[in-house]
Subunit: 485 residues, 2 copies
């Protein structure tokens, strides 16, 4: 009854990325389907990755004075309806609680699809004077937005996220925070998830319901489809006027606060899986890998095994002292080959095999998960070499991601080229667009590609004007278009 | 518009503990009422205490091989109904999701009041062979159980908790885990929350719906009322039979797993507030206090202030090096007296005031929050003295709690004495009870006091039999009774 891992179960990524994605999630124990429509179960490896997201971002938030709170998941519909664009934007995907036990509720509740309504209602009572500002709160919680189909991590009816909500006296401070949050996310994606991203602003029709502007991180998946990595919204005083969040300034005048909100969710893990995985399974960047190094003792079921296991423990202890996350897998029920496959499948960045020969020669063999390269080192230099190789892996994954992003982004000067690229090259396309809603929706209707963002890189003064690829009218900027996942 | 703290706003604990409790929660920024019926908002100080609960317990769980996962909050009613006692026990407090957007659901969802149904459905597919056992999962999540009234932390329609769910091949291993979890909780309450507790088993009518036995930690509040601190349930094979969780043993025979589940929630914070708080506000045990030491520079709005602030930073840095959580409050908008009151209200265990005189004499004055005692020390011995005093505070709070518990627990040999103690002494009463449901419910009906638990201390072989205080029949053990919060 040995749980066997048959590599044939794993579809090749290059052949069918959708099937590969489902296979890898199942075989690497990242997530499971649930009986609840549109929902998933996050399994230990998937959740451990989420914990590493949490610990890094939470530290950055706290250093900046953002304080964690917890607000109710149930929002009275009457509060949610206050901001008109907000409720319109979310209406079709709202989960409603209308009964408790046998009692029908006169005033139904919405399960939070985001928490502006409930947080703003509360902080309207917390903010009185300019001395109460800035007010920076965050919560780590579950979020509900109905989905017809489940794409584990990428689209689920319930997901986990953090949502920061901060209020300021001035427009400038508020914008500064909006961009600070976006930069945290960019740093996280690039330095931890090793994913090269696009950073920019959403079009007016794609922004968050109720925001003045939505800033975004956009990721190109290996199949050319677009993933929204997270968002940071400049809410201006839109919500503060609706929820009456006023403070007295130093001259004792009543003023509305300026606000933003920013969130990153478990959807980010979907981007991580898609970006780095290969035909052997998951590939995890060392900085977020729950296990960075796996040590496999080569056991012969003989007396010599004790020496091998002792050596494995010795090496593990040397690495643990350097705060490297090590696991020894000495499962004697499975062959070495099986165990190698398992750890490749689970994406462990570095593998060390130790047997009698290695002990005799005082050498160790490191196997990189990213390049599958094997490196022989002297045992005594193990901690420096392991640290060095983990850094190389982290950097290599980011470089590969940058190459992927670059190769999957093209520029089109004509609508024919645009259509051809979207349809055949399956990539992001950067093109002039006049910023008229009608052109945007026509393009989407005809090609299924929507605006992803206007990159900050395309906003500079030195950018020349051009002609909208759809209508030919003057266009100030080149926007990034892509098909959504 | 200075936010003024008027001590008169805080009801005296000795005069009206219910009002005091509400006042301290509001004034110390622990929680806020929400628009959602029965729900509360956990504010930064309250949430920081929860984070300290999380980090300690989570470490213990992981060291034992318990793995964090995340399961859907929405449980199809059809799954929830499978275990008959389970659904009957929870039915009146279930929040139902019956509509998504405009679409009425044919199969409604229950918002999880606990997750056995959804977790057991999943793990039935994860467990195949004896090699898959034990399986130990845990999740940190929100829980929904309708409440008519809100008692912040103590009773809310939504609360946060962890729920561990573990499965074993044998009855013995399962019981061992059930008690291990209970011991973690006991250690946490005593060594971290500094609360002396009762540990025992629930009566059959008070156990978890669907369990074989529920083990519990019971706390006497200062008003003699009972708080259930957490629970660890021996589910035996009750749920595994319903959800068909079987494995093949070494002889290839199909067997049901034995299971338990254990949970501790944000309700524990209510016990913490009630146990240690006093007429000046909250009192936090150092081990769970987000800020352990507050340094108050005595400022005169003169040139000398810089020296004072420099010294405060110097002392703070010395303490930070020892991993002591320090805050410097140099808010010059408020008087020293105001700031002292604020930090007493927020329960910070230790206060250090630094002014010109202290710098001149190279002395520091430590003020203990628990005893309000002031201790003069040499500045150069600050880190050892602070550590010493923090430990003294932690121990003193536990001792005080033990005294409180002992003074609020009486023994009654007759029903008259029992009624008198419950009514007038307002305390826990330990009495012989025959373990017949009818006596239990009659006692509760007549006195409002229910069984809290049979303490492990009262189970030993050397315990003599006695007569049930209600019916006079033979009773094997003395049970603990009390009015519920």
């Amino acid at each position: 009854m040995e749980k066997t891992f048959d590599k044939k179960q794993l579809t090749k990524k290059s052949e069918n990325i959708a099937d590969w994605y489902n296979d890898v999630i199942k075989l690497a124990d990242l997530a499971d389907y649930a009986e609840t429509k549109g929902c998933m179960i996050i399994k230990p490896l998937g959740y451990a990755i989420w914990e590493s997201v949490q610990s890094t971002l939470d530290k950055w938030f706290k250093e900046d004075g953002v304080q964690n709170c917890y607000f109710p998941a149930l929002i009275p519909m009457s509060l949610f309806e206050k901001e008109k664009e907000h409720v319109e934007g979310f209406a079709p995907e709202l989960l409603m609680v209308e009964r408790i036990g046998d009692e029908k509720l006169a005033n139904p509740y919405v399960l939070r699809p985001t928490s502006e309504a409930v947080i703003d209602t509360a902080i309207a009572n917390w903010i009185h004077s300019y001395r109460d500002l800035p007010l920076k709160v965050n919560q780590w919680c579950n979020i509900f937005r109905a989905e017809k189909r489940t794409y584990p991590f990428l689209r689920t009816a319930e997901f986990l996220w953090q949502e920061g909500h901060t209020s300021f006296a001035s427009v400038d401070e508020n914008l500064e925070m909006t961009f600070k949050a976006l930069n945290w996310y960019k740093d996280f994606y690039e330095k931890y998830f090793a994913i090269s991203v696009y950073v920019g602003v959403k079009s007016q029709s794609e922004k968050f319901a109720g925001a003045k502007n939505t800033y975004t991180i956009e990721i190109v998946a290996p199949n050319g489809k677009a993933l929204q990595g997270c968002t940071s919204h400049d809410l201006s005083d839109n919500f503060s006027k609706v929820f009456d969040i006023q403070y007295l300034n130093e001259k004792s005048e009543k003023c509305y606060v300026y606000q933003n909100s920013f969130g990153l969710s478990t959807r980010s893990i979907g981007a991580l899986i898609l970006t780095h995985g290969d035909d052997l399974g998951l590939v995890l960047p060392p900085k977020v890998a729950p296990t960075q190094v796996v040590i496999l003792p080569i056991l012969k079921n003989k007396e010599g095994d004790t020496v091998v296991i002792d050596k494995a423990n010795e090496v593990a202890n040397v690495l643990k002292k350097e705060n490297i996350r090590v696991l020894i897998d000495s499962d004697s029920n499975h062959s070495l080959g099986y165990r190698i496959n398992e750890h490749e499948l689970h994406g462990t960045p570095l593998r060390i095999e130790i047997g009698g020969k290695e002990i005799e020669n005082q050498k160790l063999k490191l196997a990189r998960r990213d390049t599958l390269e094997k490196i022989e080192i002297d045992e005594k230099e193990v901690s420096e070499k392991v640290k060095e190789v983990l850094e190389l892996i982290q950097n290599n994954l980011l470089n590969q991601s940058l190459k992927l992003k670059t190769s999957l982004t093209k520029e089109a000067d004509s609508y024919d080229d645009f259509k051809n690229m979207i349809e055949n090259d399956k990539c992001f396309v950067r093109s002039f667009w006049c910023e008229d809603k009608e052109c945007e929706s026509k393009i989407k209707e005809e090609t299924k590609a929507g605006t992803r963002c206007l990159e900050f890189d395309q906003m500079g003064d030195d950018n020349v004007e051009g002609k909208c690829i759809y209508c030919g009218k003057i266009a100030k900027h080149k926007w990034l278009f892509g098909k959504s996942y």
